[in-house]
Amino acid sequence: MDELLDDLSKFIAETILQNPSRKIEPTEALISSGLLDSFHLIDLANYVEDRFGVKIEDTELNRQTFDDLEQLCKIISDRMRRK
């Protein structure tokens, strides 16, 4: 789980925010805070699919489904286990 968290935090900071020194906390709001721009939600979904082989549907890219890394990681690890 921690590895997953680190991996995603790094991806968001480096690729999306283009600010490698930024650390994303596991419970930091991503969508409701505007940290993740709606234009970049698809980048996150594409990355998760490529890296972990699980799909986050476009209809799941909202804060009702996940709003922080902890919630997102839970979805990913659940889906990885089910595969």
Binding site: L17, Q18, N19, S21, R22, I31, S32, S33, G34, L35, D37, S38, F39, L41, I42, D43, A45, N46, D58, T59, L61, N62, R63
Partner: protein, 567 residues
């Protein structure tokens, strides 16, 4: 001359069963709305508004998501003789307090009589509407689905064609103060001229994901198809941005022939759509994909073409348009059944001498993308600071005259007066004319255009200056073109006296956070600088363009003349 309600009535009597709109929503079957269904439901709204004593010429603000109700409420308000204005819906990231503030500032200038919204939003609107002109809040869930309606008694059918039919705002505190008021006749004259420019016919199908509070979405992607009986496939911008392939699927499924996009969307689609999502997609029905509402880049066109040519996209489908809400929509159009004209000019000539000297492709030349010739009812001139008309290929401010200009900036005679010079509307855009075609080179005013959305830097600066740790009054916001994204990105530079690195990082994060929560943009970069870094003008104001150049020199290592520095 006729009015929009008359046209809808005539359409409904001529071809009631023809498709007006196919409304697409994720995880739901497509909803087909016939001309008759649209007409009857709009009449229903019109009757309800009339019964609740909403009078002709009063403004009604519509706060609804992309939905059939939004369409009905918009036209229904016209049937009541009142003036609809669509306010963007609250997004996930926007703070409710900020949204309330925006609503209040909109209410203050436009003095609306009513708001149409959802039940879940009622409390929010109530709070914002306290001590305002708003007399009635209509909740769509509570409205009767059947009403007795005597069409002839609806005031919307009695309006002169010179009366105001709708208001359009751009975003932010500044944009909301500037409601562009358009008359029935202006809208119809624009559509008459524009349909010729794009060779619109009964066989066309328009596909759009664009928001309806913006001219491109409202006119090209909504009013034009509905009024001219061209089927419209409409989806929400919220859905599209999460799955850009939806646009291409809609083109494939409905044999879409026309779509309008801001420049960034070409990059966005080309870069982010997965090949696995494109299986079997055929784009050969598309006859024009029109780039409009922000600087048009040839590199974006090439990227798009390369990616989607294998799916049947025609080379000649790429088109361009120069448009502004003050002219209802289009000013000029290029690329209809022909390639868009490209003009290779000398970089230094443009930036230093302000002249577009032709120069062969390569090295120090830049590729300008034509916005085409003016549409038939619009004249364009290039003016210098004194207001003299400049010859071809000399860069100056673009001015225009037409029979479809705005009636006024709503209740702002000061702004209306300042916008015109000797009967010519000053666009604030810089450009030149070559062989009768318009080329846009930059902007006179400090406006930032992000993904086709107009952002006023002063609105962003106001937010930044409220962040603790930012030296009072010492912050600036400007746009920097991002080649990869195909649009401008907002950069904030703020002065601070804080030295401690952790604290500085916190301030920078806080700036981003506050801007994200209180504006329509997402800020990725907040640069903190020492006291005295920012340059001021002789009158003591923060000089945006000078600071922008200083930023590019010091933080991006660009000291050569960048074309984008002029944008």
């Amino acid at each position: 001359m006729t009015t929009l309600p008359h046209i809808l009535r005539q359409n409904a009597s001529e071809e009631p069963q023809r498709t007006a709109v196919v409304f697409q929503q994720r995880n739901q079957p497509d909803q087909v709305i016939t001309i008759q269904t649209l007409y009857f439901n709009a009449l229903r709204y019109g009757q309800i508004l009339k019964e609740q004593e909403i009078h002709p010429d009063e403004v009604v603000i519509i706060v609804l998501q992309h939905s059939a109700d939004l369409i009905y409420a918009f036209f229904g308000t016209m049937f009541a003789g009142a003036i609809p204005s669509i306010m963007p819906f609250l997004t996930e990231k926007l703070s409710p307090e900020h949204y309330r503030k925006s609503l209040r500032s909109l209410f203050e200038v436009t003095q609306p009589a009513a708001v149409i919204t959802y039940k879940e939003f009622e409390a929010e609107i109530h709070q914002a509407a306290q001590n305002s002109s708003v007399r009635k809040i209509f909740i769509v869930e509570n409205l009767p689905s059947i009403v007795n309606c005597e069409i002839s008694s609806l005031p919307g059918f009695e309006r002169p064609s010179s009366s105001i039919v709708l208001l359009q705002h751009s975003s932010g505190t500044t944009g909301l103060q500037k409601g562009i008021a358009l008359s029935h006749q202006a809208v119809m004259r624009q559509l008459t001229a524009y349909q010729k420019a794009i060779h619109l016919s009964a066989g066309d199908v328009i596909v759009s994901w664009l928001p309806l509070y913006h001219d491109m979405g409202l006119i090209a992607g909504f009013l034009m198809p509905i009024l001219l009986k061209v089927p419209l496939v409409l989806m929400s911008p919220f859905d599209w941005v999460r799955s850009p392939v939806l646009l291409l699927r809609a083109i494939h499924n409905y044999h879409g022939t026309l779509a309008w996009l801001p420049n960034f969307a070409y990059n966005f689609c080309a870069q982010k759509i997965r090949s696995s999502d494109l299986d079997g997609i055929d784009l050969s029905s598309l006859r024009a994909l029109i780039n409009c509402s922000e600087p048009m880049m040839q590199s974006s066109h090439e990227m798009f073409l390369q990616r989607f040519q294998p799916y049947g996209l025609k080379v000649n489908a790429l088109a361009t348009c120069y448009a502004m809400a003050e002219n209802v929509f289009a000013v000029s159009q290029d690329g209809i059944e022909k390639p868009v004209t490209l003009d290779w000019i000398d970089r230094k000539g443009l930036l230093v001498d302000k002249i577009a000297k032709p120069r062969p492709k390569g090295g120090d030349s830049i590729c300008m993308v034509s916005a085409g010739k003016p549409i038939e009812n619009t004249q364009v001139r290039i003016l210098n600071e004194k207001g003299d008309v400049l010859p071809e290929r000399v860069v100056g401010e673009i001015a225009l005259q037409s029979d479809c200009m705005l009636s006024e900036y709503y209740k702002r005679p000061d702004l209306t007066q300042a916008a015109f010079r000797d009967g010519w509307y000053l666009t604030g855009d810089l450009g030149y004319i070559a062989n009768g075609e318009i080329y846009i080179t930059g902007r006179k005013k400090d406006l930032i255009i992000v993904g086709g959305k107009n952002i006023y830097p002063q609105d962003i600066e106001r937010i930044v200056m409220e962040v603790q740790g930012v030296y009072p009054g010492r912050a600036v916001a400007f746009g920097v073109f991002n080649e990869n994204m195909g649009t401008e990105e907002v950069v904030v530079v703020a002065e601070t006296e804080e030295q401690e690195p952790h604290r500085r990082l916190e301030i920078a994060n806080q700036i981003c956070f506050q801007v994200n929560r209180s504006s329509d943009i997402v800020l990725r970069k907040a640069i903190l600088v020492e006291r005295g870094w920012l340059l001021k003008t002789s009158s003591g104001k923060i000089a945006r363009s000078a600071n922008r150049e200083k930023y590019l020199r010091e933080f991006q290592g660009t000291d050569r003349l960048e074309f984008s520095t002029d944008r």
